[in-house]
């Protein structure tokens, strides 16, 4: 079992490097760097705001995405509840089904959505957005292959993928694992281009 995972991981790594090297051939843009954020605390009802360009939790309006429990907001659109921060940016999200490394092109503009009164750009609830909830084990698992391409508050692009909802990202979380701690990978494209 473990060796299969190893082989697959190696394969994924290979695809990743292969795609990176093809970017190098273009000689136009510097490939984006994938950064891992661990244990972002979203256990409070006040949203924890994150900036991709600064790679940190921020308290001002220059945030791109914000977390509270299983809800994820984007800095663009309408405010729905009092606990939410004001949307001051022009942010939006497009949901792509793929591996993280394979999302290299920005999705079409029509696929981006902002937080609305009816629904968030990243829908809440099991199976709707980024996670599934198992009624038997009561565990929340990020759905694999859901990559979120974010238009940031100032019109740049980033992509992110959630890896875990539990503290220290255990491979098999249990009910004892502390929840509402996000671990995710992101890549931020600072240049004006259409690829990651």
């Amino acid at each position: 079992m473990k060796t299969k995972f190893l082989k697959l991981s190696l394969l994924a790594l290979f695809i990743f490097t292969a795609s990176c090297s093809s970017d190098d051939d273009n000689n136009e843009v510097i490939p984006v760097v994938t950064t891992k954020v661990s244990n972002l605390d979203a256990s409070a009802t006040t949203f924890t705001k994150f900036s991709f360009s600064e790679n940190k939790v921020v308290t001002n309006d220059n945030w791109d995405i914000a977390f509270s429990k299983t809800t994820i907001l984007v800095n663009g659109g309408v405010k729905k509840a009092d606990t939410e921060p004001n949307r001051t940016g022009s942010g939006a999200v497009s949901i792509v089904s793929s591996t993280f490394a394979n999302v290299t092109l920005f999705p079409a503009a029509s696929t981006f959505a902002q937080d609305g009164t009816a629904a968030y750009a990243i829908p809440t609830g099991s199976g709707n957005g980024w996670y599934s909830y198992n009624m038997t084990t009561h565990i929340i698992s990020p759905i694999a292959g859901k990559v979120f391409v974010v238009k940031t508050h100032d019109g740049k692009y980033a992509k992110f993928e959630i890896l875990s909802y539990y503290k220290d990202a255990p491979a098999t979380p249990s009910l004892e694992s502390a929840s509402s701690f996000y671990t995710f990978n992101f890549a931020y494209q600072a240049n004006s281009t259409t690829t990651f």
């Binding site: 473990k2 697959l8 729905k80 993280f100 875990s164």
Partner: protein, 688 residues
């Protein structure tokens, strides 16, 4: 693993090579008296000539195995797997179909009380069973809803001639488990009576001592089943059959690290009044009135002994039915008409609900020549809550020669939406999601919307069309072979199920959680092969081997695999997988097998019975983030179980028995909750 495969291959070849030797050795031995069965056709038929796949467990086999409850003896049969549900009840998986699709009958009438889809089979004692008949494959053409995967009919003992006989038995086993039985049979001329009583108690078992909850908490139950028979004449006979069952169990829970304690009680009453009327040599009728009530009540108190939670479930079924069989030479025409009145009152229902249905069935058992048997039938159900159902079935048996026959059947099966799927109204107290039955969802959603509890409703969801029954097409193709010391049957099966009912999100609440309701969603299919054989090496020694291969998959997963193609590796990276990596439905093993050895030593009147069971790996839920079971998921490893029993007869009247279930003490506490460790037992039985 390799060793295990080799072991079974060797076991199989062992048998084949020996069967070849038999041909040289032309001694004809024990002509088994032909087993007669009733469940498959509702008339008496010889097992070997039936065009349907069927298994019979005799009272002798039950006794020699040393087990005491229905779930235990069923779990020893080829192709039957017991699966624990959330409530801890063990349900039957047959031909890869869930427990909700097998109808359980006692003396031809159904048990009720599926609070979460699964019947608690441990409530049936095997102490007074004459035989258990298992029909596999869709049987809705005779039995209607629930019989989509098959029917299990438990037939109890009946005094046939003037007699007074009985048995007393006591069995003690590990976990302080006691089982005391008495069964008295009496008949004198026109009167006959039978009284069965059983008391069972156990301390339960605890596989993980580090948590305060046990896998099975202590409980006791008793069963009393009095039956009275009166023959008005040779041609008109009355049977009054009652069964009372009462269970009490410790109810323990840990909610948010707080301990709660209470009781859980189950009460069941079954009453069957039946007239058997022989009009003449050609016409025979049965008039039956059946009533059953299943109740459970449970409560939990907190540490200060203040009531924290209580739940109840109270279901009634009333069923009058008339059956008539007309014999036309070699052929038989059987018809039945009846009605069901069902009510259910339970926690999480707004009010008590009831179902009404009427049905009629007809079956023609046609024997044009010695070699051919054709069984054609249908059943029509008219129901108050869902569309009427027409369930046809056709089965053929062709006797190639005295020893070998071919059989095939095609049938339609269905399962009506149950009370829960229509009327549930449940909100999980700790997480906050809500599940609503289909028939009450619209009104409840409107209520929640008015109260401002809804964030949004999912577009395009409406409850205008009634929820459809789940339906299946079942095909079986098999053979039956019996010659000298070898008995062998093979059956290939295929089930295709449509309109499978599952939950789907219908709205989001302002707390961020979902509201679910039930919909006809997926299509699944199962196919496989079942093999059973018995070889009598000598009069004293016989070996039987059983094997089932099974594939069970969700068609919608195969059709929309792009939605499931990404998984997360152990270091949480996303990886793409292939369609062929899809393993199938949860809780299904590709391979299950058993080998049973029976050895008799006449000199010392002793029977030795050793049974080995194998189940290949299976998955319980998705562990890598793509919501399906694929080959990279974490599986429950394959395992072997061994049961041993030794019976010694003293004189004609006494029997002593000792043995062990799960002899090698195999457990997997984190993944297999219903597998207790080794259980030694001893039993004494007195028969007169």
């Amino acid at each position: 693993m390799n060793f295990k495969i080799t072991f079974f291959t060797v076991a199989l070849f062992f048998q084949i090579s020996f069967s070849q030797e038999v041909k040289k050795d032309s001694v004809k031995t024990n002509e088994l008296s032909e087993v007669k069965v009733t469940t498959a056709t509702r008339t008496e038929r010889v097992l070997s000539s039936l065009p349907l796949p069927m298994t019979v467990i005799t009272s002798e086999a039950i006794m020699k195995s040393g087990v005491t409850r229905l779930n235990e003896i069923l779990s020893e049969q080829t192709g039957i797997i017991l699966i624990p549900d959330e409530s801890g009840f063990e349900g039957i998986q047959m031909q890869g179909l869930d427990a909700a699709y097998t109808m359980i009958l006692i003396d031809g009438v159904p048990l009720v009380g599926r609070s979460a889809g699964v019947l608690d089979l441990s409530r049936v004692s095997v102490g007074n069973i004459e035989r258990i008949e298992i029909v596999k494959g869709a049987s809705s053409a005779l039995y209607g809803s629930e019989a989509m995967g098959g029917v299990i009919n438990v037939i109890t003992k009946r005094p046939k001639k003037d007699m007074f006989s009985g048995s007393l038995s006591y069995r003690y086993a590990t976990f302080n488990t006691s089982d005391a039985n008495t069964n008295l049979l009496w008949k004198k001329k026109k009167f006959a009576a039978n009284l069965f009583a059983n008391f069972y108690s156990t301390d339960g078992y605890d596989l993980d001592k580090s948590i305060a909850l046990k896998n099975v908490e202590p409980f006791y139950n008793f069963t009393i089943q009095p039956k009275i028979y009166y023959d008005f004449s040779e041609n008109l006979k009355l049977i009054v059959n009652n069964r009372f069952y009462d269970m009490k169990m410790d109810n323990v829970a840990i909610i948010n690290s707080e301990n709660y304690k209470g009781d859980a009680k189950e009460k069941e009453w079954n009453s069957q009044i039946k007239f058997e009327h022989k009009w003449n040599s050609k016409l025979y009728s049965e008039y039956e009135f059946y009533t059953t009530n299943y109740k459970n009540d449970s409560f939990l108190n907190d540490q200060n002994n203040i009531l924290f939670e209580s739940a109840y479930y109270n279901q009634w079924l009333i069923r009058p039915e008339i059956r008539t069989t007309l014999s036309l030479g070699n052929d038989k025409l059987t018809g039945g008409v009846g009605l069901n009145y069902e009510t259910l009152d339970r926690t999480y229902f707004e009010k008590s609900v009831n179902f009404n249905s009427q049905y009629i069935y007809l079956q023609y058992d046609y024997n044009p020549t010695e070699k051919w048997n054709l069984l054609a039938g249908f059943r029509y159900d008219n129901h108050s809550e869902y569309a009427s159902q027409f369930s046809p079935k056709l089965a053929v048996n062709y006797k190639v020669n005295e020893n070998f026959s071919l059989k095939s059947s095609v049938g339609y099966g269905y399962k009506a939406p149950d009370f829960r799927q229509l009327y549930f109204d449940f909100t999980n107290p700790s997480v906050g999601y809500t599940v609503m039955g289909y028939n009450v969802a619209e009104d409840r959603l409107n209520q929640l919307e008015e109260q401002g509890q809804l964030l949004s409703r999912v577009d395009g969801v409406n409850f205008i069309e009634p929820l459809k029954p789940e339906s299946s097409i079942n095909i079986n193709l098999g053979t039956f072979y019996k010659k000298n010391k070898l008995r062998l049957d093979v059956n290939a099966f295929y089930n295709s199920i449509e309109n499978l009912i599952d939950t789907r999100v219908v709205a989001q609440k302002s707390n961020g959680q979902n509201v679910f309701s039930y919909f006809n969603i997926s299509k699944i299919f199962t196919y496989g092969l079942e093999f059973n054989s018995t070889y009598d090496f000598t009069k004293e020694f016989s070996v039987s081997f059983g094997y089932q291969y099974l594939t069970a998959k969700d068609k919608s997963v195969l059709d929309n695999f792009e939605d499931y193609q990404y998984i997360r590796s152990s270091d949480l990276q996303t990886i793409q997988i292939k369609k062929s990596d899809y393993f199938g439905l949860y809780n299904r093993s590709k391979h299950t097998a058993n080998v049973k050895f029976a050895y008799t030593i006449p000199k010392i009147k002793t029977d030795i019975n050793l049974r080995v069971f194998y189940r290949s790996k299976y998955g319980l839920f998705d562990t890598n983030g793509n919501q399906i079971l694929d080959k990279y998921d974490t599986f429950v490893d394959d395992y072997f179980l061994t049961n041993l029993s030794i019976s010694k007869y003293i004189g004609d009247k006494f029997m002593l028995q000792a043995g062990a279930n799960n002899l090698f003490d195999f457990t997997d506490p984190s993944q297999i909750s219903n597998l207790a460790g080794r259980q030694f037992f001893g039993r004494i039985q007195y028969t007169f």
